[in-house]
């Protein structure tokens, strides 16, 4: 079974600082994976590389079957071929309604001409309402998303990610600012989603990661320190050293 995303020997340097150092990583088409690591381990930079925001100095990044070289694509094209991303800080379009936010994320033709002629049909509206129900914003579709609470914005962004219908979801700290109930809901959602597609979750909260019950990759100083189940990696002396020792 070939991997959906294959990252091979990637390195990137910012002004002499090596943010990613010979990193290799791969994930299967229907797999849930958590990435943990201390601050500055390179988690966000890793996501930047996969989504095309940052160009690595060396290495290869391939996606899908047949494999596509992601390093040749622009951000928007990477998103179009099925990689969705949720940012650490919720970034929704605050001047627009929840409905419009979801409608823009909905998987559809992305060209300007298509957008000009676009009219939301029954199927699209149904899909948006379905997602809204899932993320608990069914009653808020007409509200400006800027008026939502922090947690609701998190949900909206997760909703936008679902609306994109990607093959690979990159989720950066989904649980931040959520209540306990909401966290459980998020975990359920991610686990369910990972049945049909690949999901990579970056998270600090160990409790949240434990609940995901999935393989964990530990990053440290830009490369993989350990990989395996959470109990396995937490028993790894190197990991303990990085997290606790000084």
């Amino acid at each position: 079974m070939s991997a959906l995303l294959e990252v091979l020997g990637v390195s990137v340097t910012f002004d002499g600082f090596r943010a990613i150092n010979d990193l290799s990583f791969s994930i299967q088409p229907a797999e849930l994976r958590a990435i943990i690591g201390p601050n500055g381990a390179g988690k966000t930079t890793f996501m930047d590389i996969v989504t095309g925001k940052t160009r690595p100095d060396s290495g290869r990044v391939q996606f899908g079957t047949p494999p596509v070289d992601l390093l040749r694509l622009r951000e928007s094209d990477i998103a179009k071929i099925g990689i969705g991303r949720k940012f650490q800080r919720p970034t929704v379009f605050e001047a627009q309604t929840v409905f419009d936010n979801l409608s823009m994320a909905l998987k559809n033709e992305r060209s300007p001409f298509a957008a000009l002629g676009y009219k939301a049909d029954r199927r699209d509206i149904g899909r948006i309402e379905e997602i809204a129900a899932e993320i608990g914003l069914a009653d808020h579709l007409r509200r400006l998303s800027g008026e939502l609470s922090h947690g609701q914005k998190q949900w909206l962004e997760i909703g936008m990610l679902l609306a994109q219908d990607p093959q690979l979801l990159l989720v950066d700290e989904p649980a931040a600012g959520m209540t306990l109930g909401e966290r459980e809901h998020t975990t359920d959602l991610l686990v369910r989603t990972a049945k049909t597609r690949a999901v990579i979750v970056v998270e600090h909260d160990m409790e949240f990661v434990r609940r995901l019950a999935c393989p964990v990759t530990v990053l440290h100083e830009g490369s993989v320190l350990a990989e395996g189940s959470l109990s396995h990696v937490t028993a790894n002396p190197d990991v303990i050293e990085v997290y606790l020792g000084r």
Binding site: E75, S76, A79, F87, E94, P112, L116, Y118, K119, A120
Partner: protein
């Protein structure tokens, strides 16, 4: 779900009504078709102001909605004027030349006519040949097409270069300003083929319609301007109210984020930049026959900055805001600088508005930016309803 365009842009209906009423009133009081209370001169000012409102809408689309502070849209406006001006000038000169040559002993050859036109038009810059770029000047349909094609193509090429290399923010503004400056400097040259700093003149005389008095023609142009503005407003309203508008606003608010949703920001920016350039060019093509003259000074970078000033004062991100700003500031400007405004005696110093209007405009612009970033329309919005588009 009520998601139709008029429901999302309620101002369109109000705007069309107001525009119709203004046009009707102007016609009723005009010298040509009505009581004559409104002098032809004022009809022309009204017509020109409507054109400025149209380019302000274009500016609002590109800046207010898409966040690209273009300091170059007046270049497209001027180019539109040049394109139509070429036909106006050539065709009229041709009429005059043929009329005067028909009195000669021998009927003129086409070559002689062309030479005479060349001397007539380009004598002022020391030329006598008709330049290549005037090849189609005899044909109204072709020049009308060029009104759209030339500025559109310039915007397309420039925009493609600029957006492709991800030039954004103030960099892009400066670059558009450089483009405008380059164009105006080019036109200032005598050998640019467009009469250097003399520009194209006598544009108010429409070939073939020389028997019709200006009072009538000015009304026609005023109607034309109103029609163009109306269509432009509806078009802009339609553009910004749909999904396209949502994406464009999203680009303005967070370019990187919309990119990660799979939208090609460059394509959208290029589309909106080019389409607004075309709108600006059309506005210019209607404006300059009413103004009578187009010259490189019109294209100077300062004009485009003023355009941004109008839209900012009116309130960007709202179509009617752009219209209000353009109408108000341009009319006030011509009132103050035209010497009609009464001087303001302070006892120790008399403020002459001809001298101090610019200062007032500059400072009020600073104040609007500081204290009313949404402009007049923003204040208006706050009074009328809470949420805005």
């Amino acid at each position: 779900m009520k998601n139709t365009f008029l429901a999302r842009q309620p101002s369109v209906i109000v705007f069309i009504l107001v525009l119709a009423v203004i046009t009707l009133l102007a016609t009723v009081f005009s010298e040509a078709y009505g009581s004559g209370l409104l002098p032809t001169n004022y009809v022309k000012i009204l017509g020109k102001t409507l054109c400025l409102c149209l380019i302000a809408i274009a500016m609002d689309l590109v800046w207010g909605y898409c966040g690209i502070l273009s300091l170059g849209h007046f270049a497209f406006f001027g180019l539109g004027g040049y394109m139509i001006g070429m036909w106006l000038m050539y065709a009229r000169t041709e009429d005059i030349v043929i009329a005067s040559m028909s009195k000669a002993a021998l009927p003129p050859t086409p070559g002689e006519v062309r030479d005479a036109i060349g001397t007539q038009i380009f004598g002022v810059v020391g030329g006598s040949d008709v330049p290549v770029i005037w090849s189609f000047a005899h044909s109204l349909p072709i020049q009308l097409a060029l009104v759209v094609i030339v500025p559109g193509l310039l915007a397309l090429v420039f925009g493609w270069l600029a957006f492709r290399s991800r030039v954004t923010g103030v960099y892009l503004s400066i670059l558009t300003q450089a483009m405008t400056l380059a164009l105006s400097l080019y036109l200032f040259q005598n050998d640019s083929g467009l009469r250097g700093n003399n520009g194209l003149s006598g544009l108010q005389n429409i070939p073939g319609l020389t028997d019709i008095p200006q009072s009538v023609i000015s009304i026609w142009f005023m109607w034309g301007s109103a029609l163009a503005l109306g269509i432009g407003y509806v078009f802009a309203g339609w553009i910004v109210s749909g999904k396209f508008g949502n994406v464009v606003k999203a680009i303005r608010d967070d370019e990187a984020r919309i990119r990660f949703l799979g939208y090609s920001v460059e394509a959208y920016k290029l589309f909106i930049f080019t389409i607004t350039a075309v709108i600006a060019a059309i506005a210019g093509a209607i404006y300059y026959p009413q103004a009578g003259i187009v010259n490189p000074a019109e294209i100077a970078p300062i004009a485009s900055i003023y355009l941004a000033v109008w839209v900012a004062i009116g309130g960007r991100g709202r179509l009617y805001g752009a219209v209000i700003g353009a109408a108000l500031v341009s009319l006030l400007s011509s009132w103050f600088t035209g010497g009609q405004a009464p001087d303001l005696p302070l006892g120790f110093y008399t403020i002459k508005w001809v001298d101090w209007w610019q200062v007032l405009l500059g400072l009020s612009f600073v104040l609007v930016t500081l204290f009313a970033p949404r402009g007049i329309a923003g204040m208006f919005d706050r009074l009328v309803r809470k949420d805005a588009a």
